[in-house]
């Protein structure tokens, strides 16, 4: 513990030293600022900002999701600053920099417009590209999301995520994502820095993140840096758009699954804006009637964000989101199919609100960020109105992140503090877990400098120190990220150690029960993961990108339900270790403005090792290896998007090999012969005759989705978009859930034609 405290002190003292270093070496100048879109005041990420001196020497930076750029260690002199980004006119200014000067230059970029027939086409902002992956990190922009056929005219982030290799979903219901072998509770989802516990809706096409509210999303499928922690598998860091600061705009959509209203505009023109979105499912009135099938799902979400410019060097945003879901996913095995009963219902609600302040100290080349947030989840499962399993999790968190720009090195560091309250009732599903109300405090710091020792090479070592005073536990987590761009090639790698104190417990034996109880590591051992990722990307021409990436995750102290032959009654939980390994291959052809095709193949293998005594006895092995139910070996996605005469035609074909399931020899009845048992009086218990766990494989999953849409201008700034499409075009009977006890199967959505209308005031 004392060595841990010494390390914490080191991490906190080092940044102070950096301030002095920055001051001492301040004979050079710094240019920094925010880049926004002149039409709506939105920040533009990915803008190349280049400074050129009279001799032609170049230095520069690209804007981040806040539209922020910083170029430091500039020799005093006269420069030309040029900002460029696809779809916008280049922005050029001349500037003179004095020694020690820090200039904040914010500028607005003007959209480049082209006439195409009768329709005014606004050049689309660049897609990040499905093959644009760097050591597990994939950046997603709204333009990427819109390439995926969706049942709703407003695209949704999750629909894009499920088209990426390495991300396995249960299918079109359940809202569970497994990322490179990790379980859903091992993914951290952040919206403007606010943690959202369970943001994916019960219908798999939808999340709390419609494309219309997203600025960008960074999805780390592993190997994430020291800024993030507390999860074993992945981080989805989503930044919401800011509202239009120039004028009121909005949109309303209607489609068979969901209806949406979005409104945004200035509260103080040019300075303060708001963005609000409301979505409500209309499945019962829409999709359910289209397929003439009961689809017992309901969901909705409300999102709002206020963004204010506090002068030229500071911005404040307040973000809030609320989601609710309920529905029935599976079948009750003990209920006779002929008997009318009320099936169990899953229900959850997220409520989260947070503020984010970013500012640039006038005299220091520093970017500072302060985050304060509250998030809660309420999850219930059981008969409607009388749930048998409940969980309430609340989280208050504070974080401060700073970046010091010292020459070619960016020193990132930060501190964080969070407090959570966890209160769950498992309804007896896990006999050996006695949950009580728990309060967990987490405090820590991180340091993660980014060195750029030569052009194209970025080395980012990091360390994260986190402590749980209430649990008397502390962890030191090393991280490393290296990216080397050389010509058309990019080589990258990432590695790190991760711990997850807040653990999600669920019973994966039943696909219909996605209830998740949040608790502290229930068996006293904190789950741990070690990641290593290595990738290669090449872009020989503007319209071909190829990427390949391999990963390996070593997992220890996982919490899994104990193996039991009792048919889906209560059980114990147990610790298991595991590994996840595999590779992704992605090929992207074309560009988003005409034709784009992405072909990806993900291959992975997830293995858990159980030391459950029953399995040891059964097999004679000290540790029994098995493939958990989310171990999809191969996943292929082909997405094609074609833009022709104002029409957008999108096709997606997904293929996945079958997920593991428990085969059985059948059923019998079991009597415990532990004494002078009178077998004429003891009825025994029904038993399923399982052998080794998860030896079977469900049938392969594949589906073709198609959509076609066109936008019509019906007023000076009013547009009508009509979208039509087909989900599951060749009506594949993809299995969602097989009930071993009744042999009834629940299939995923059948062939569904869709028609959506969007009225937008831009």
């Amino acid at each position: 513990m004392s060595s841990f405290l010494r390390l914490v002190k080191s991490v906190l003292i080092l940044p102070l030293l950096l301030v002095f270093v920055a001051s001492a070496s301040a004979q050079t100048a710094t240019v920094r600022g925010f880049v926004t879109d002149s039409s709506d005041g939105q920040p533009i990420p990915g803008v190349n900002v280049v400074l050129s001196d009279v001799s032609g020497g170049l230095s520069g930076a690209a804007t981040d999701t806040d539209g922020f750029y910083a170029v430091s260690r500039i020799v005093p002199g006269i420069y030309k600053l040029k900002a460029s980004f696809v779809g916008f006119k280049d922005h050029e200014i001349d500037l003179t920099l004095a020694a020690s000067e820090i200039q904040t230059i914010n500028f607005k970029m003007v959209v480049e417009e082209t006439e195409l027939g009768e329709v005014l086409v606004e050049s689309t902002r660049e897609t990040a590209g499905a093959a644009n992956i760097t050591a597990g990190l994939q950046t997603i922009r709204p333009a990427d999301i819109s390439l995926v056929p969706a049942p709703d005219i407003s695209a949704d982030l999750v629909n894009y995520l499920t088209s990426l290799p390495g991300i396995v979903s249960q299918g079109d219901r359940g809202g569970q994502l497994f990322i490179r072998g990790g379980e859903p509770t091992q993914n951290m989802v952040l919206l403007d820095g606010i943690q959202i516990f369970q943001p994916f809706h019960i219908v798999g096409f939808f999340s709390a993140f419609p494309a219309d509210i997203i600025n960008s999303a960074d999805v780390y499928a592993g190997g994430f840096g020291a800024r993030f922690g507390g999860r074993l598998s992945s981080v989805m860091d989503i930044t919401a758009r800011t509202g239009n600061k120039q004028r009121m705009v909005g949109a309303a959509t209607i489609a068979p699954f969901v209806s949406t209203v979005r409104l945004e505009g200035p509260l103080l023109p040019g300075k303060v804006s708001f963005l609000a979105s409301y979505r409500q499912s209309v499945i019962e009135q829409g999709a359910s009637k289209l397929v003439d099938q009961e689809l017992p799902f309901e969901f909705g979400d409300i999102f709002a964000k206020i963004h204010a410019k506090l002068g030229s060097s500071a911005q404040l945003s307040i973000t809030g989101i609320q989601t609710d879901d309920n529905g029935r996913l599976g079948l009750d095995p003990l209920v006779d199919s002929e008997v009318e009963t009320v099936p169990d219902e899953i229900q959850w609600e997220n409520l989260a609100v947070g503020s984010r302040l970013i500012f640039l100290p006038a005299s220091l080349p520093v970017f500072a960020e302060l985050l304060i947030s509250y998030s809660s989840l309420n999850n219930k499962f059981g008969p409607p109105g009388d749930p048998t399993q409940t969980t309430n999790a609340t989280l208050f968190s504070f974080a401060s992140n700073l970046t010091h720009y010292v020459g070619t090195t960016d020193f990132n560091w930060g501190i964080f503090l969070s407090s959570s309250k966890l209160d769950s009732d498992l309804g007896g599903i896990f006999q050996n877990v006695d949950l009580k109300v728990e309060y967990i405090t987490e405090v820590g710091a991180y340091l993660e400098p980014v060195f750029n020792p030569m052009e194209g090479l970025s080395v980012q070592p990091g360390v994260r120190l986190q402590s749980f005073p209430s649990k008397n536990e502390s962890f030191i987590e090393p991280r490393l990220r290296v990216v080397w761009n050389t010509g058309i090639h990019r080589l990258s790698m990432a590695a790190g150690t991760y711990h997850q104190e807040l653990t999600g417990l669920n019973d994966r034996r039943n696909a219909g029960d996605i209830f998740t109880a949040w608790t502290a590591a229930p068996n006293g051992k904190v789950p741990e993961a070690k990641h290593i990722i290595a990738g290669y990307r090449v872009q020989p021409t503007n319209w071909i990108t190829f990427a390949a990436e391999g990963f390996y995750k070593d997992l220890t102290n996982l919490v899994v339900p104990e193996w039991t032959a009792f048919p889906r009654f209560n059980t114990n939980i147990q610790a298991a270790d595991g590994t996840a390994s595999g590779f992704d291959i992605r090929l992207e052809l074309g560009s988003s403005d005409k034709f784009q095709t992405t072909i990806s193949w993900g291959r992975s293998e997830v293995k858990y090792g159980s030391k459950a005594r029953a399995l040891q006895i059964l097999t004679g092995e000290a540790e029994v290896e098995y493939s958990p139910p989310h171990d999809r070996k191969d996943q292929i996605n082909i997405m094609t998007s074609l833009k022709l005469k104002g029409f957008n035609f999108n096709v997606r074909w997904q293929f996945g090999t079958g997920l593991p399931f428990n085969e059985s020899l059948g059923f019998d009845r079991w009597v415990l012969l532990d004494s002078l048992v009178n077998v004429t009086e003891i009825p025994g218990e029904e038993r399923v005759l399982y052998g080794r766990p998860y030896t079977g494989r469900l049938p392969t999953y594949h589906r073709l989705d198609i959509s076609l849409d066109r936008e019509f201008r019906i007023g000076p700034t009013t547009f009508l978009t009509i979208q039509t499409g087909i989900l599951n075009a060749y009506d594949r009977r993809n299995l969602f859930f097989l009930d071993l006890f009744t042999l009834r199967r629940v299939d995923q959505l059948p062939f569904i034609p869709t028609l959506g209308i969007k009225l937008e005031y831009k």
Binding site: L58, A61, A62, I488, F595, T597, N678, L689
Partner: protein
């Protein structure tokens, strides 16, 4: 992360002629659609899922032969591919036992029993009294000849060592050691054959004290064998209670004895514990070939002795020699 700002791309990318690019792209469009629809055609076949593994196991059975009874019972369950919360209905099974050493075959009869929880099950009844030291094989045979079977060796009476009674602070104790027994007996009883001193003409009466798990009364494994300690003072209270003696009465103790009910030597759960969560797992504890479950046997082992006059008195009884 602000420290992760990508540096701008300053190098030039290779440039191809527009004509070449468009031609190549058209071919790409065509190739993509051919690939897409080829894959759809290839993968379009429906697949059914069979959750059951084919295996040569047909029945589950639970029961045992009891040397104390002329009627034996065996629960037989036919393996099925349907969950049956209400229990089984019909069964296609013929149950026989064969006394291996003699070749005597007994055919068991089927009975459909309704249990207290509303379920029903097939109990087969065999009229035989097993002989200690002999093997018995039970065969459960389907009409098509498929069969599950199990064999048990009925435990024979082992040796026993009776220690001298010891008078101690807690009263008189006496050890009984069964050298060949290596597992907890299913039942341990100690009987006391007494006569009421107030009515010495009446026939003797027996009190049977059942030794339970409490305070380790069923005994423990020692290097000498299974050791059971008799604590006479504790038993005296139970004897007094059962036979209706007064608290200070000292009934005549004619003799006493111990009877333990012992399972066959294969009736030993993994790790020596009857752990429900482990034993429910098929195959963790079974002696059935071609099926699941357990078919065992039981025997009662007895030992009778008398106490010395002094010990009888210290134990709270009257020695019969003074009658």
């Amino acid at each position: 992360m602000h420290g992760n700002q990508a540096k701008p791309v300053l190098s030039k990318k290779p440039v191809l002629s527009k004509k070449l690019v468009l031609g190549t792209m058209n071919r790409s469009v065509l190739a993509t659609f051919v690939l897409l629809f080829g894959l759809v055609f290839w993968a379009g076949c429906e697949e059914e899922v069979n959750p059951f593994v084919e295996e040569d196991r047909f029945f589950t059975m639970f029961g045992y032969l009891d040397t104390a009874s002329n009627e034996q019972f065996l629960r037989v369950i036919e393996l099925r591919t349907e969950f049956a919360a209400g229990g089984e209905q019909g069964i296609d099974a013929l149950v026989t036992t064969t006394e291996v050493e003699t070749g005597v075959i007994t055919v068991w009869r089927d009975s459909l029993v309704s249990f207290y929880d509303g379920t029903v099950g097939h109990i087969f009844v065999g009229n035989l009294r097993p002989v200690p030291g002999l093997h018995y094989t039970v065969d459960v045979t389907r009409s098509d000849g498929k069969r599950a079977s199990a064999t048990t060796l009925v435990p024979a009476q082992p040796n026993v060592i009776l220690s001298e009674a010891q008078a101690a602070f807690v009263g008189v104790t006496q050890k009984v050691v069964w050298p060949t027994i290596n597992f907890i007996p299913f039942k341990v009883e100690v009987w006391y054959r007494t006569i009421d001193t107030a009515s010495p003409g009446l026939p003797f009466r027996e009190a049977v004290v059942l030794y339970g798990d409490d305070n380790g009364r069923v005994g423990k494994q020692t290097v000498d064998g299974w050791e059971i300690l008799i604590r006479y003072a504790e038993d005296k209270k139970e004897v007094t209670n059962q036979l209706g003696f007064g608290e200070g009465d000292q009934p005549i103790l004619l003799s006493l004895g111990m009877r333990i009910t012992m399972s066959d030597e294969k009736w030993r759960p993994p790790d020596g514990l009857f752990n429900t969560e482990i034993l429910v797992q098929p195959g963790t504890f079974s002696n059935v070939e071609g099926g699941f479950g357990y078919f065992g046997s039981l025997n009662q082992f007895s030992l009778e002795w008398t106490l010395s006059p002094e010990t009888t008195t210290i134990a709270g009884y009257t020695n019969p020699g003074k009658r």
